[in-house]
Subunit: 242 residues, 2 copies
């Protein structure tokens, strides 16, 4: 039986403020919850409509009805399982490979897609400015498709982070050098900017190499979306290294 | 004064059936409407809350109040202008460069992003299977950011289209050859498949070259989203040709 206080707690985790206060976040759907259970993430409680999970013997689970799951859920059509997980322990950013840095990326779908791209291309560390959208936002989690378990995401003062790193800093600008003809090293920091404003002036001042994706079509075309541009840059980084 | 029949007409254009019946579609927002006016697209009528458009002297415009625009609009916060445009004349697909072919891409955001990518990379012709989402769907139009005026989009029987073309056919498959080490020609057909099922077996039988984006991360990663994968393949095509 799901009580009012449980519903209130789960709903509060829709807000970043309460996620940070409790150090927990909500994940919905059988596939993603299973993927988190199979990773290093620690479950606080899992609500399930039946015996649908593997490896859940030692997990705090509560059997609920479809109606009860609906009351807890943020989805129109809840999918069998809702899990509350603890924040993972932040790991220090390893400077032995490429690090992706996001300067105020605000759209949850974009961040989710970018996390999935990091996972695909083996980028293990993602440094986000403190104004980048929270990676435990439900819309981000939905878009990551479980990749969140395999990428170390750190929120930080990006200026300080870059200043303290010895890696070369690459930033993406419309007027940058053609990435097709730029020789990229085996490691570095790649900075991607905000959807509307690009890279902020404070970060721009720290960029050592300005790069761009050349445009082949009409000059009036809008710049590429940050997620698609990230896809292309990460592919370029890996094709050089491979 | 906007009458009930006008509202009914505009609202009917939210459905593909009525768009095809009238040969017209709706576009909202000052920027995109202006971009269509500045292109070869022909306006049927433009509703505007003030004198906000350039080059609209010879266009059938109707001044409306903010309230009236809200009654016509499909958006929560309508943006000054709503335009009804006629379908553009389909142009034959020019076989002198790369043609992108979509085999049942269903998500409007993905199609919109892909149209914008074609515009960026100078891919002038997009051949869509008849089950691909309609490019005049309002969500597609919103995601294209005006690129729809610069890409020739044709809905067709894709099997027949490919059979009748003399171009080499490249298809994307998880087990395909690494695109980083594949030499791509100056022209061809690139086929991208459905979000859930990939390329259909009927089209697969016509693919001459199976290519893939190599994966550098964990093997459990979900395959890339069709829009981000298209971004990477179009970049690969153009980096070879450039």
């Amino acid at each position: 039986m799901v009580g009012k206080s449980q519903i209130k707690f789960i709903k509060s985790l829709l807000q970043k403020k309460y996620r940070n206060q409790y150090g927990m976040f909500v994940v919905e759907g059988l596939k993603t919850v299973q993927e988190l259970l199979d990773s290093n993430f620690e479950a606080h409680i899992i609500y399930t409509v039946g015996d649908v999970l593997d490896n859940a013997e030692h997990i705090n689970t509560e059997l609920v009805s479809e109606q009860e799951l609906k009351r807890l859920s943020n989805l129109k059509s809840p999918n069998k399982v809702l899990g509350v997980f603890k924040f993972p322990k932040e790991k220090p950013v390893d400077q032995q490979g490429w690090v992706l840095a996001l300067d105020d990326v605000r759209d949850p779908g974009n961040l989710g897609t970018i996390i999935r791209l990091c996972d695909w291309f083996g980028i293990q560390h993602l440094a986000c400015s403190n104004n980048t959208v929270d990676c435990f936002n439900p819309k981000v989690l939905q878009a990551t498709m479980g990749s969140i378990t395999r990428v170390n995401i750190v929120y930080t003062d990006l200026v300080q982070f870059i200043n303290e790193s010895s890696l070369s800093v690459y930033g993406t600008f419309m007027d940058g050098d053609n990435v097709h003809t730029t020789s990229l090293p085996q490691k570095g920091i790649l900075v991607m900017g905000n959807e509307a404003n690009g890279i902020s002036s404070a970060i721009e001042a720290l960029v050592e190499h300005r790069i761009s994706i050349p445009q082949f079509g009409d000059q009036r075309t809008e710049s590429l979306n940050v997620a698609t541009a990230t896809a292309i840059f990460l592919n370029e980084i890996k094709r050089t290294g491979s």
